[in-house]
Symmetry: C2
Amino acid sequence: MTDLPKFVEFHEEGPREGFQIEPVSYPLERRAALIDSLSGTGLKQIQVGSFVSPKVVPTMADTAELFGAIKRKEGVEYTALWLNKKGFMLAGEAPRVDMDTRLLFYATDAFSQANNNCSATEMRDRQVEWLDLYLQQGLAPASAYIMTAFGCNFGGPVPIEAVTDLVQWIIDLCAARAVPLPAIYLADTVGWANPEDMKRRIGAVRELAPDARIGLHLHDTRGLGAANVYAALQMGVDLFDASVAGLGGCPFAGHGSASSAGNICTEDMVFLCEEMGIDTGIDLDALIQSALLAEDIIGRPLNGRIMHAGSLTKYRSRLA
Amino acid sequence: MTDLPKFVEFHEEGPREGFQIEPVSYPLERRAALIDSLSGTGLKQIQVGSFVSPKVVPTMADTAELFGAIKRKEGVEYTALWLNKKGFMLAGEAPRVDMDTRLLFYATDAFSQANNNCSATEMRDRQVEWLDLYLQQGLAPASAYIMTAFGCNFGGPVPIEAVTDLVQWIIDLCAARAVPLPAIYLADTVGWANPEDMKRRIGAVRELAPDARIGLHLHDTRGLGAANVYAALQMGVDLFDASVAGLGGCPFAGHGSASSAGNICTEDMVFLCEEMGIDTGIDLDALIQSALLAEDIIGRPLNGRIMHAGSLTKYRSRLA
């Protein structure tokens, strides 16, 4: 019937996605405590922060200090985001950043202009420099992200060819440099994806690159996050970025009081997988405790569901 | 690949689910305004309130007055919930209630005890009286709900046979009375469902009753609502209860500040369907306006997603 994977890997993005968007900086020791809490859940990759311009994103200005403050757990990778060469060099100088060597592509010019002040083609061509920078440091590229792969608020609908053309370009680049294909991430940056389109785009990428691992970076902007994950699982996808408690929503969005949705919620999606018999290596109840800590730090209700309802563990064990 | 339906029907439960659970009563004219707003969206069935004990559910005590206050729209059914014969008689006496002749079954004794102070078997047997009451009034049974059909906080996991045994009992009863089978609703009353189990249970019910229409009453308690709807759509299910803005969450749930999730959110699920090419007959942007009105009345952020992010209409039309 379906090709559900046996094991799914979640990369935790909450510490970066959740705090970079906030209007204020939260105390470093509390953010370190959240990361330490996440370290105990079974997650194998946690994105700690960003090495980006402190003028543009002041909440990430102390990322190097944060790396110094966390208690590292054996077997967990602590990564960071950067958007240019300067950021990459800063990450390399910071205390023990696990270098998550990303390449960044954009399916629309409009979003690339907004984020990088250059066209999607210019951004694509810059990735040759990024790749060579990684290779010079003896690092292979871990991932290639295609942003706005499902649609774009600035650029509108994204034809599937805009995605597959980029994938083909990545294939050709890696062949030219004789490096293995990185994991190819399709990012639903602004919440346009639906489950059927999810399947079509995953299918098209897999047809072009049957051996590449496919990952997804999804936002629950319009309430279809869980449905999109289920569609991807049915296509055998086993790699997702997610945020504890659904961190990453914009606190200023619509309507004054309400916050918009952020990334898909890690613990809700772990629950989805585990209930269907898919192993995640994650202790759901421990992760719910991390989510409640995140909510306590942020100081307002967050979007996660199971963190408020509780897992089914107690209902099942009560009857055992 | 899948058996997605061409048209999906949503029954709006927000006016009852949303307000019955609140600690205070909201002004009648505002609740009437919400129903009038919903009447303009294309929804064909709106549950206005309940005829239940005003001592137990004081927020529903003025349901008859509310029925008198709404502006009826041609082609829309305005229904109410009742849980016993007295409620049914009260509904019959109220101004123009469209009689939504439900039968109510429970998959677990524990939940039936909590809701009805009797075992699931006693509740089942009472439905013979309900059916005969409907038939005496010249009404056919419209629906048979199986509550806690996926699991129960009080009773624990629910074996699939607990559901199919009830369906067989309904089939036999309808055969004995020579009435057509009502729509059979599986209710995930407390948020235990997952997409694969959804498919199994729908498949088992369909095998027993191939001609019966299957409906779903789902709650997004643990964040899997959209995934469960997508799984049901893949099984061809075309009938869902839902609540505008995700109304129906408990304002007291966990953690002091946060509200727990309510029903699946009507406008988010309309978006899901329409994006996949499934017609719903509903004007999504009009429904989002109703959701924002509901949030304004309730006075705190509600769980709906697209109501805060906005639909894709403007992004698409901007480019047309």
